[in-house]
């Protein structure tokens, strides 16, 4: 029974990690841009949910509908206006650029919201459900289901829609895609927009679970990195799988070796993957 509880904790946590990482993975995989602003986008999404709930009484589910287009637009503009100018440069250039943009965004949030930790407290609280002795908090279940749903929607967009096919085409071969009449600049902006929208929505969901502060941006980014390496870059199912593995490893690792080793263990796993399977579980070789 105890193992079941640890398993449940791991699966739920894994889905939250997937939710954190999927947008980051998309942007890295398609654009070859390591978006260091990703963590700050998530935090900004959390503030949106927090502010909308406390000031306007909007539920986080309603905020989700606001966050998606808003963050899409934000991402689209950042890519169109700034990143596209250096997109052909080596990855270090875009990395430095997003690093700088993140410094600006994160410090702006520190100025605007202060470093105080805040929490979105629903009234009444959602509580938790129990099956036998296995207890799972409702907010995590909802966040998990919505994260999976968002990821599925993203998957469908990439597979079925015109822009999604264009994103995949550009990812496979930028020049060939251009010759086929794909507008590469717009496609990049759309991909970055989708990544930002996923980050914003993740932030809204995570506002229910984690304390909110600009200082949380770095831990989110760290988790996104690990999940991407485990799951494989640019692969939506890969992000889910990577998240699940990370969640399970941390849960069982904390149980077996003590909580102080949970993080050590996940980074040890990261190193092993980098050595033996750098493309990740579902990534394609030569894509990193």
């Amino acid at each position: 029974m105890f193992t079941l509880q640890i398993l449940a904790n791991g699966v739920v946590l894994g889905c939250l990690y997937a939710c954190i990482a999927v947008g980051f993975s998309l942007v890295w995989g398609v654009l070859n841009v390591i978006n260091l602003m990703h963590g700050s986008f998530i935090v900004l999404g959390s503030y949106l949910a927090w502010g909308a709930y406390n000031a306007l009484g909007l539920s986080p589910w309603a905020s989700l509908a606001i966050a998606a287009p808003l963050f899409y637009a934000l991402g689209y503009l950042v890519q169109r206006g700034v990143l596209n100018r250096v997109i052909a440069a080596p990855v270090l250039v875009t990395l430095t650029l997003t690093f700088g943009l993140d410094l600006i965004l994160n410090n702006a949030m520190l100025l605007g919201f202060k470093a105080d930790y805040r929490k979105l407290l629903l009234d009444p609280p959602l509580g938790s459900v129990a099956w036998g002795s296995v207890v799972v908090p409702v907010d995590r279940i909802i966040a998990m289901l919505l994260a999976l749903a968002l990821t599925a929607i993203l998957y469908v967009i990439l597979r079925k829609s015109r822009i999604g096919r264009a994103i995949i085409a550009v990812r496979l071969d930028r020049d060939a895609a251009r010759l086929m009449g794909v507008n590469v600049a717009t496609t990049y902006a759309a991909a970055f927009g989708l990544g930002a929208a996923m980050a914003g929505c993740a932030g809204v969901l995570l506002a229910l679970i984690f304390p909110i502060s600009p200082l949380s941006a770095t831990p989110y980014l760290g988790k996104a990195f690990v999940v991407c390496v485990l799951g494989g870059l640019g692969s939506v199912p890969g992000a889910v799988l990577g998240g699940l593995i990370l969640g399970l490893v941390e849960s069982f690792g904390a149980f077996a070796f003590g909580p102080e080793h949970a993080v050590t263990l996940s980074f040890a796993l990261l190193i092993l993957f980098l050595i033996f399977r750098p493309q990740g579980l579902l990534g394609k070789r030569g894509f990193e």
């Binding site: 640890i6 930790y117 609280p125 129990a130 995590r140 200082l215 760290g222 149980f255 050590t264």
Partner: protein, 411 residues
């Protein structure tokens, strides 16, 4: 200025460094007459104004600034009949302890400060105390609790925090007295200097009071999930959960304790609940969480210091910073005023006389009763144990200032 920049670039050999600092050490004597003519009293404060510890430095700075402002508003410090204004000279040591020592030395030798405040925390305060001892500059550490800081036989170092065990022992005794059926304690500590030290003291206090420590686990800095650790704690069925960490850890932990439907007679958290931010972020979950700190706005002492009472201090602090002070800011403010009291008693800025007055000090302040032990660390203070009741922190110990009784049961 030139000397430090030479040091920084490593352009000077160790021997000439020694000679240079010897020369610098001699300077105040040579220009002693200039010091006599000064109009303000200069206090040096090396602080980690940038880097990882910046939030802590900001708190100390707020505390010192508020004190200086109040003293100057009242005309200054009475030095043998002459009113002198005070000035705080800050240097940034960038959260880098070796640089804190350099910064302290620079304040003494180049900025010619009369007195010194220690850098932040036990480690840096201990490192810098060597410098102030060498130059015989009375120094007050406002944020150093470890007794190892004070056991070096130094004469010029004083500290306003009692040792860590003074936080855990009264709390344990109180719980044992009020809830004799509390037997099993589970401890969960952030693997970090102060949170771990407090947890270790708790383990000792628990054992001394006949409690069984059923688990002692550490979690890593930046842990985003405590569910496994809590599932284990739940399976051990403790009566008392004792968790340490900073506010983000404790807010998350409190929520996850609730998520996992863990109930205990007593849940104690250090150091988050001392801040209003915790009560806001934990919401209903904050109810009945107990904690301890060196000071809390709820303490009630009638002081002879410039702030007189905690209420007055909180009011002045709110007016200046639009926030509620916690023990870090209060300790910095009282450290300043202990200097004022000692200087006025000594009637002079003579460092040795002021040092002797500090050593003899026996006063009640808004911070609490202040007497320094033979090591220089305060030994008169009984840090308050408090509990969140009705979204407010209520002091439940010591008896002289308590506002309510410890309530059992945290759901």
């Amino acid at each position: 200025m030139r000397i430090t920049s030479l040091f920084a670039r490593g352009a000077v050999s160790p021997l000439s460094k020694f000679l240079l600092s010897a020369a610098v050490a001699a300077t105040p004597v040579a220009f002693g007459s200039a010091a006599l003519a000064q109009e303000t009293i200069r206090f040096g404060a090396p602080l980690p104004l940038t880097g990882a510890l910046a939030p802590e430095a900001l708190k100390q700075q707020q505390g010192y600034d508020l004190w200086a402002e109040q003293v100057n508003k009242a005309g200054g410090i009475d030095v043998g009949g002459k009113k002198m204004k005070v000035e705080i000279v800050y240097t940034d040591y960038q959260s880098n302890t070796p640089r804190a020592v350099q910064a302290a030395e620079q304040l003494i030798t180049q900025e010619k400060v009369n007195f010194l405040f220690s850098p932040f925390g036990s480690g840096a305060a201990k490192a810098a105390s060597t410098v102030s001892e060498r130059y015989k500059v009375p120094t007050i550490a406002s944020t150093a609790s470890s007794s190892q800081v004070y056991d070096q036989g130094y004469k010029y170092l004083f500290g306003t925090f009692t040792p860590n065990d003074t936080l855990t022992t009264p709390l344990t005794e109180l719980v044992v007295k009020q809830a004799p059926d509390v037997k099993r304690v589970a401890i969960l500590a952030r693997n970090d200097l102060f949170p771990l030290a407090i947890a270790q003291e708790m383990e000792k206090s628990a054992k001394q009071n006949g409690l069984e420590v059923v688990s002692f686990e550490r979690y890593a800095i930046n842990t985003m999930d405590h569910s496994s650790a809590l599932a284990q704690i739940k399976s051990q069925n403790p009566h008392w959960i004792f968790a340490t960490g900073y506010i983000n850890d404790l807010v998350l932990l409190r929520k996850q304790i609730d998520d996992q439907r863990i109930e205990a007679q007593v849940v104690t958290m250090i150091a988050g609940p001392a801040y209003q931010e915790f009560i806001d972020a934990a919401g209903a979950g904050a109810e009945n969480i107990s904690s301890a700190a060196w000071w809390h706005p709820a303490v009630r002492y009638e002081g002879v210091d410039i702030f007189k009472t905690a209420d007055n201090y909180v009011e002045l602090f709110r007016a200046k910073y639009n926030a509620t002070p916690d023990y870090a800011q209060a300790s910095s403010s009282i450290s300043g005023d202990l200097f004022r009291l000692a200087i006025e008693k000594a009637g002079s800025l003579d460092r040795d006389k002021v040092r002797d007055e500090l050593a003899k000090m026996d006063v009640v302040t808004f911070w609490g009763p202040v007497r320094f032990g033979p090591t220089g660390q305060i030994n008169s203070l009984e840090p308050p144990v408090f509990q969140i009741q009705g979204a407010k922190a209520i002091v439940v110990h010591p008896p002289e200032i308590k506002q309510g009784e410890l309530r059992l049961g945290v759901k």
